[in-house]
Amino acid sequence: MKDSLDENNPRKAWMSVLAKAPEGRVPALLDTVGERPVFTWLRAPEVGSTMIRGRAGGTGAPFNLGEMTVTRCALTLATGEVGHAYVQGRRKVDAEAAALVDAMMQTEAADLLRSSVLSPLEEEQAAAKTARAAKAAATKVDFFTMVRGED
């Protein structure tokens, strides 16, 4: 599955997990880690859109399907690490927290953040996905053949 950790690019993987977190979840988990580090904005949080594309026939030429709202920001920690965030929706507070996590994942705090922020998010996202898939599985049709009258 695409959602699992990308071994080759761990940053891509954690940014994806942060982007898909439910509203308020990243700030809440980040604040369990302790005081937030000092930072300056490279780009203050701003709301914009991304044009989502599909492919004709699922696999053919791309076409524009419609836009989605996205919030992005970038910041620099006092120690120099740069954090970026692109998160779905209009969520400036969440984008700020996601960019902080992205920056802090490049510091010595990485292990702590992985266990306190990223792993819980991954587990929650996997659990939500499994719960939905379990309901879908219960609506799968089991066909059975009626006794034929050929004998």
Binding site: S49, G58, M68, V70, R72, R90, T139
Partner: protein, 362 residues
């Protein structure tokens, strides 16, 4: 002579104040929250996102509340808001083959890998009003079974293996965007699909139905209908790689249509395609049928003059915001226009001797 007038400001203000009061309704009834609309009128929210062409369930729910449930008005609000957003970029094309499916059915194959998964559907309900819903109460939890988490292959893949259906070969030309360039004819398929995915559901349904009834009949089967979530991935220039920036629910419909063949190619099935924001299957099926009808030229079919084959007719009339904008503007003051018409008809009547006719009658 026409004399310019001003006025109506107070009347307009008061009309809007009354509108707000009517929107709220009886204050003894609790106010409806935006979250309630988002969670409980989900299919209305989905329609507003699809036709508003902006995926944001909270904004769509707010628009529905503000518009008193008038979905075209809500779509209008979303379209207007959309134009205020800076565009950060375009996503990589979503991979619907990797969809986490809530629903996935095929009307052409009974036994297919991944199975027939009904999902939360109105199909097979008896369409009888459920008076239990009029009383408040908890809903029992939906039954579950062991989850199957693998990717579900597209049905057309099986037919492709035998060469029985036309392929949709991968291409990566950047598509035209009708939100940036005005829609012009002839419109290539990418542009038609963009126009159709945001088109009015009722108009698209009517056109699709017309093809089933014989106007450019191409006998569609629903090869596959799937509803579920896909991740949206975008290249981030400042990072130099793509990240998932969110997840959207989509409905995808692939039709398998009447076959074509030629001297060089053996007969094979053709395809129509629908992909729409949200759980919107009536719209996705309609889109696939209309997409297929519009492909007549490329597939070497006869133009029988059916409305659904006429790209200009379909695409220029499918957008409900354009349509309602032009339609509803005729109720706004046209005093000057009308004054000139009035002068003209009086003049014509004078010339036709209508005054004498009137006198004679008296």
């Amino acid at each position: 002579m026409y004399v310019a007038v001003k006025g109506g400001e107070r009347a307009i203000e008061n009309a809007h104040a009354w509108l707000a009061e009517e929107r709220r309704g009886d204050t003894n009834v609790p106010d409806l929250s935006v979250v309630q609309i988002r969670e409980q009128l989900t299919l209305a929210v989905n329609r507003v996102m699809a036709e508003g062409s902006l995926y944001d369930p909270d904004l769509a729910a707010l628009a529905i509340k503000q518009s008193r449930g008038d979905l075209i008005e809500a779509i209008f609000l979303i379209r207007a808001y959309r134009t205020t957003l800076p565009r950060f970029g375009a996503s990589l094309p979503v991979d619907t083959g990797a969809m986490s499916c809530d629903r996935r059915i095929s009307a052409t194959f009974k036994d297919l890998p991944g199975g027939q998964v009904l999902g939360p559907t109105f199909d097979y309900t008896h369409r009888l009003l459920d008076f239990k819903l009029a009383a408040e109460g908890d809903v029992p939890a939906a039954p579950t079974r062991e989850a199957e988490l693998g990717e579900v292959p597209h049905v057309t893949d099986f037919l492709n293996r035998e060469g029985l259906i036309e392929e949709a070969p991968r291409q990566d030309t950047p598509p035209p965007d009708l939100t940036r360039e005005p829609l012009e004819m002839p419109a290539e398929r990418a542009l038609r699909l963009q126009a159709l995915t945001r088109s009015d559901e009722g108009f698209t349904l009517g056109l699709a139905y017309s093809t089933q009834r014989g106007y450019a009949r191409n006998h569609a089967f629903v090869g596959e209908l799937r509803i579920g979530t896909v991740p949206v991935e975008m290249d981030i220039p400042e990072l130099g790689f793509a990240v998932e920036i969110g997840e959207v629910t989509l409905t995808e419909c692939e039709t398998v249509n009447q076959f074509m063949g030629s001297k060089s190619e053996p007969p094979q099935f053709t395809r129509g395609y629908g992909l729409v924001f949200g759980q919107t299957e009536r719209k996705a099926i309609s889109m696939a049928l209309v997409d297929r009808a519009l492909r007549w030229e490329e597939l070497g079919e006869e133009n029988v003059g059916a409305p659904a084959q006429d790209a200009e007719f379909v695409l220029y009339h499918a957008d409900n915001i354009q349509a309602t904008g032009f339609l509803e503007h005729i109720k706004l003051p046209h005093y000057v226009d009308f004054q000139s018409e009035l002068e003209l008809v009086r003049k014509l009547r004078r010339e036709a001797g209508a005054d004498q006719v009137q006198e004679a009658a008296e």
